[in-house]
Subunit: 344 residues, 2 copies
Amino acid sequence: MADRFLRACRREPVDCTPVWFMRQAGRYLPEYQEVRAGHSILEVCKTPDLAVEVTLQPIRRFSVDAAIIFADILLPLEPMGLSLEFAAGEGPVIANPVRSAADVTALKPVRPEADLGFVLESISQARAALAGEVPLVGFAGAPFTLASYAIEGGGSRSYIRTKQLMYRDPEAWHDLVGRLADAVAGFLVAQVAAGAQAVQLFDSWVGALSPDDYAEYAHPYTQRIFAALADSGVPRIHFGTGASTLLPLMANAGCDVIGLDWRIPLDDGWAAAGHDIAVQGNLDPVVLFAPEHEIERRVLDVVKRADGRPGHIFNLGHGILPETPPEAVGFVADLVHRATRRAG
Amino acid sequence: MADRFLRACRREPVDCTPVWFMRQAGRYLPEYQEVRAGHSILEVCKTPDLAVEVTLQPIRRFSVDAAIIFADILLPLEPMGLSLEFAAGEGPVIANPVRSAADVTALKPVRPEADLGFVLESISQARAALAGEVPLVGFAGAPFTLASYAIEGGGSRSYIRTKQLMYRDPEAWHDLVGRLADAVAGFLVAQVAAGAQAVQLFDSWVGALSPDDYAEYAHPYTQRIFAALADSGVPRIHFGTGASTLLPLMANAGCDVIGLDWRIPLDDGWAAAGHDIAVQGNLDPVVLFAPEHEIERRVLDVVKRADGRPGHIFNLGHGILPETPPEAVGFVADLVHRATRRAG
């Protein structure tokens, strides 16, 4: 059923629980590795033919209920003036990170069509290529997570520089995340115009914040983004990791679906977020490395915790890890459908 | 008041809230760096004169209410047969990690006096040198966290190999954590015999587990350790990070004090753990990089959430970071005492 995923986002009844996987277009697939053998991540992102190809790869292989456009949350940082590279095995590196109020002021606004037109073109082409088989999800990074990369210059463990800017120069911080919110809001609106049928906002590292810091330094900017999408008509998914104590706040940021990681049982997480929104998750990605009987036990546990309530989208609690056996992904997709099939 | 810390561990009234800092003996202190200039971490651990010196350094500088012996949670892995090194800036590296049931079976039991006598000697000397000024805390790593290092061969982000052993060979996993529990239990009992007046069990990375996995694969082994200490008469502190959803389970593992990180407000965390145990925490370590007025606001918030209830020990939500300005540590220690001083 082609609209299973979108119906679940709206908490409408479905024939069986929809399933997709964060990072389903990625390094664990040999056909993705083949594309990447000749091209960097940024080249794939910036070449619609390639981006569409890797977007479609998991759709060809697995019975997933949504495609997610191949892109990277850090792409908007480049037109803002930051130099973005992906070092082999090292993750993203920004050579000229934001460290001061002056660095923030120097950032340029993002013009989605002019600056990130390649993503919009990829969305448009992927949407056409999918031909209604499954809906296409667009996405972006949330202001806190983007700011953490912009300030740290890459991944981080303790977010010292990020929080230093918050605590020492709150004005510069609010200026920075305000600019990021504007850039992301415009980018996501443009993604919907280009054909994205749902959007997911990744605040992957927001779990580094206390609830009070989240409320003060991150939440208003995420709200601004979701508000800009209110009239778009597409479901808005909000996802973070290690964010169990932030769920009530994150759920009221203006999203239609809250993404959970595995640190909170799905029923508890859904209750914390409120049953007036849908829920996405939340199998530990490492479970895909387990034997099938163990995968099955854990998938069925997640399904059971959803309790047949409309509005559950099955997913992992974080992205698929590069070392994941592809056959486990297919096994889970089929199992979720089989285990949740409604009579009728 | 020399017994302020121990009284708070037992939830007895105190003249003001006791305070100490995880990793208070560490790299942020220039006098520690001086000792380390000539000696590796392992050399300092294994030379009681040096270990005692760095244990005492923060006591000389700050008005903290407890000393914690300088050591490392990974020390028991060496006599078990694992080769332990600290690569510069890289953290611990284990060249022969545990990857199979056979690797587990080959592990040797730890004889605390013969294998880790240098820690016991350091405790005995530090206790004498402290001369009752403040109590001395001993510590060890919890089985899950130790197993994660033993299996991954160092730090990890996704704990793939650790969880793989759990999921693929649960028998080997239970054998491994059982051996680690026995080693740690014996080591902590010996630390108390040598003079430790409280013990803290660090399950630093247990927040990587779902509550169900924690209950099955970690909790019983932590319980075994605390049970072995039940007759010791010393307070048992239990600490993890990112473990908000595990708190009810962690709190009932047999500890007297639960350590909280900053991801959960202290009042919520204490309520989740239960008011029948004491609580330690929970300032974000990065707050020590903030201006004093901002540090003060956040310290007072933690104190306010403790609500004057006996049984709060002020601490950070994780260890002091190496880049921390030492004066911020002194400022917080004094502020906690001043802000919580009881009339009388």
